[in-house]
């Protein structure tokens, strides 16, 4: 593409910690700070030599709305390094990398810390509209009598039924479907069976377990420490005992009675953060930085929100075409596992002449993606999907996979709630 080459120097992430029905030990900014300071510590440059910090986050808490700036300051980047936040739902972390890329290409920045974070376990409970109106009435009630009347009008059921923020966040506001229901749409369209989804999920768990044992996450995952003196070393959502029999016992979660999508074949609700350091050629030379890889190109696509899980197909296809690549020309693929059905649907869509023709305007299908190159070390079904962080995680992990396997090129792609897809083409030096 045009402009200067943009390099990835290094990256690190927190262990992904599964939400366990209560707020987790770390706020989103705590996660970003923990991973960021470990990453910055091992660099040749000081944190205040960064040109900017860009952080993707889908649900920053109300006291850290511009979480990018909060984290930049907490990382000791100093007052003069700007920090900002990007939000593109599930691709917020990938958007942060893309924004860094654009600024480096433009010559506005030489050295950027970019990543994503979310602490989904800390998603807030919200007051419903009736309660909000009640608060307004109570606050404007002038006399004690009026205040008492307002208090008496309060319906306890109303007080005790807050809106669960995360459920709102995971529901498409335009078509009114929960994300899992959009995955059910794909399963219906591509005739994906429950058995296939569960098998895919078992494979994800097995691959993560094997990758952990082989040390494939070493260096990428840095420990977290809480205030009670406990260390968190590894992603804790992975189930080594996962089996098709176990998964078969789970009830459908989204279309409760008749669906196929369960908690077991969906990505987990998780807290985590991931960072990459991006640098221009000039910065690489100036600081003598190692080069993990180069971001070659990015593509963003839009599609029907009710089919949002096919986002990777819509984003990756033009990316492949623009760069003259076929599906299996790449040495590795990362497609974020929002749902097992959704990843399987992507693979089928590419191999489906009708879909390729109608939706992508292709004369012939792209073919069968070689699944031995796809999500080599497992994915979000086993690791979890801390929404803002996932896009950054898959780009970082893709580069680490290429480095390990001696591969040259890869694509990381992610589906985005609201009906979008993002894809990033990377290359090893």
């Amino acid at each position: 593409m045009n402009g200067q080459p943009v390099y990835v120097v290094d990256g690190a992430r927190t262990p992904f910690l599964k939400a366990r029905n209560q707020p987790g030990p770390f706020a989103a900014s705590d996660l970003a700070v923990a991973a960021g300071r470990a990453l910055l510590l091992r660099q040749n440059f000081a944190p205040d030599q960064l040109d900017e910090v860009i952080l993707g986050c889908a649900s920053p808490s109300p006291d850290e709305v511009n979480i990018g700036r909060v984290v930049a300051l907490r990382l000791g980047c100093g007052l003069k390094v700007p920090g900002w936040t990007v939000m593109r739902n599930c691709a917020s972390g990938m958007q942060a990398i893309d924004s860094a890329l654009v600024n480096i290409r433009e010559g506005r920045a030489q050295l950027v810390l970019a990543g994503g974070v979310d602490a989904l376990s800390r998603a807030p409970l919200l007051y419903n509209e009736k309660m909000v109106l009640w608060f307004a009435r109570f606050a404007t009630a002038k006399s004690i009598g009026a205040k008492a009347a307002a208090l008496l009008s309060l319906n306890p059921a109303q007080v005790l039924s807050p809106i669960i923020g995360i459920m709102r966040g995971l529901t498409d506001p335009v078509v009114g479907l929960m994300m899992g229901q959009t995955a059910e749409n794909l399963a219906f369209r591509f005739e994906i069976t429950r058995q296939e989804m569960d098998a895919f999920s078992v494979r994800s768990h097995q691959r993560v377990a094997a990758a952990q044992d082989a040390g494939n996450y070493t260096g990428e995952v840095v420990p977290l420490y809480d205030t009670k003196g406990e260390a968190f070393l590894a992603d804790d959502g992975v189930r080594r005992d996962s089996s098709i029999e176990n998964l078969a016992k789970l009830k459908p979660f989204f279309d409760r009675k008749f669906g196929n999508i369960t908690a077991g074949n969906s990505s987990q609700i998780t807290d985590g953060g991931a960072w990459l350091i991006l640098a221009s050629e000039q910065a690489v030379d100036k600081f003598g930085l190692p080069v993990l890889g180069r971001i070659v190109d990015t593509e963003w696509a839009g599609l029907d929100p009710a089919q949002m899980g096919l986002g990777p197909v819509h984003a990756s296809t033009p990316l492949l075409q623009r760069n003259g690549l076929a599906l299996n020309d790449l040495d590795a693929w990362e497609i974020n596992e929002a749902f097992a059905a959704q990843v399987i649907a992507c693979v089928r869509a590419w191999n489906d002449p009708a879909y390729c023709k109608e939706q992508l305007g292709l004369d012939a299908p792209l073919g069968e993606l070689d699944q031995s190159k796809l999500n080599l070390d497992g994915g979000a079904i086993a690791l979890g999907h801390p929404v803002g962080a996932s896009g950054a995680r898959i780009v970082l992990h893709l580069l680490n996979v290429l480095k390990r396997t001696g591969g040259k090129r890869g694509i990381a792609s992610i589906c985005i709630g609201g009906g979008q897809g993002g894809a990033m083409l990377v290359e090893r030096p």
Binding site: A38, L41, R42, L75, G76, Y225, T227, K228, A231, L233
Partner: protein
Amino acid sequence: MNSYRHWRIERDGDGLHWLYFDKAGESTNTFSTEAMTELRSIVSKLAVATGDQRPRGLVVLSAKDGGFIAGADVREFMTLTSPEEAVTLVKRGWDTFNEFAALPFPTLALIRGFCMGGGLELALACTYRIAVDEPGTRLALPEVMLGIVPGWGGMKRLPKTIGAPAALDMMLTGRTVDARRAKKLGLVDEAVPTRVMMNAARITLSNRPAPHQLGFVQGLTLWGPARKFIANQARKQTEKKARRVHYPAPYAILDIWLEQDGNPFSFPAEHPSSLRSLLASPTTRNLIRVFGLQERLKAQGKESTFAARHVHVIGAGTMGGDIAAWCALRGLKVTLQDQSADKLAPAMGRAAKLFKERLKDPRRLRDASDLLIPDIAGDGARHADVIIEAVFENLKVKEDIFAALEAKARPDAILATNTSSIPIEQIASTMRDPARLVGLHFFNPVPKMMLVEIVAGANSRPDLLAACATFVRQIDKLPLPVKSAPGFLVNRILAPYLMEAMRCVDEGIAPEIVDEAALAFGMPMGPLELADTVGLDICVAVGKMLAGSDAPEAATPVRLQQLIAAGKLGCKSGAGFYTYPGGKISKPRADPARVPAGLADRLIAPMLAAAQRALAEGIVADADLVDAGAIFGTGFAFYTGGPMHYLASRTA
């Protein structure tokens, strides 16, 4: 009117007078005789000023960056030779502040930064007090720590301002309060941000709100039976901490408040709580001496311009972890290295606890936590200004660490070991440049122990030693330069005392009786409780090191050997000479009558002898530094002025 050396008055268009304290030739305002005399002359003139010259209101404030007023000029106080002179000095301040309080127009103290002792007493004489809400703003009446009393009106005015319980607490402990706490207590009328401090003073003096009054309940604490009851409660609290024979000042404060409404001149001279008795007592002299020793240690940090920003600590055990946490608490970036996350995690937990205890503002707490970075790979060593090794006592391990550090660290970084038993020269022997290594010897528990020994190896570079002293001041500890010799100064003095106490136990004296003897002498903690706190394994290691490695095993006290064999290593393992259910000591009550005559002397004697030998061998430069080390490193009875001073005064 503007012809004063230490004060400056400005009159503004609204008729307000702004009285700036700007002590000549000093960065901090203190009340010397001259400054007080000038103030008195200003007050007398203002009191009778008429027409244009008569202020509509008066603001007292500081012209210094370094705070409001730090109190009386202690250096001048130390030069006084007779109790009579001291009484005169107190009387001068008492009269001046009374005249100030009687000025016929409203007055206001605008307090930014330190407001200690006489500074707070002047503020209390004002109609209004406004504190600037900054981290540096601290208010206290710390006179008791010098063995004296807040005699410039503090004992009279503070209880009437904030009620008896809070006032006695402040006066008896010397505790400082920040601006927000002061506002809560009613000690100041407002706690305001810096940006509106001048406006706040101006508006308050032009609106003239009703001066602060005690609430009804607080008011009751000053009258009748409540007053007596509160004084008695406070007396009981004080008895737990300091015995009257050693520390008369807190008892005098109670008597003067209870019986004389805070007027220190009302008791007849021969009364034990009279100002004259107090100022004539050796304790007061000695506590002022201790203050002087502390100032001397602080001054050691002034020789170098070294300023650390990043400290790297190797070893996340109790010492390493606590040193790291302490440095982060003092605002330095700290990387803490150990082999695994599991080794780092407990240190991070302890640090979180320390931060929570010390920092109330959640944002400051977060800042400190962010500064402390766990570092398994040891990446921090490349960036750090100071590197402190605090791993277990093993020569080979330490040699390897410093050999690696020499290649990795910045050439201008301080390389220091926290070793307590291995000679610096030995650790440095495998280094390319052995002159780079120095010792920085911290004491356990790090957050509480003020002293840090700066150990000079035979070859250590003097400029690095000076930089170490500056660094130690930067983290708000007291640097004591010592020569590299077994036990340095503090352990060398302490160990024989602990061993003697253990021998007493071997002879059949109950631990609590041994400890009681030491407490009665004026030690802050008994030797056996102290041994439990330090760790019995460490006591043995230090004892052996001091005795020489070929010392017969029999020299180790029997009870100590038994406890070690049983895995009872003191507080940390739940039992030692005492038991620690739930981490808290369970200690039988000791009847003072059962303490054998001469036991305290027996316990102290080896300590005194060790202090003399350390001086003779030149471990520290002079006798005063021996005393400073013993007091701030071992807690040696403050009222004695230190072991060498105690010896000298005994023979005198």
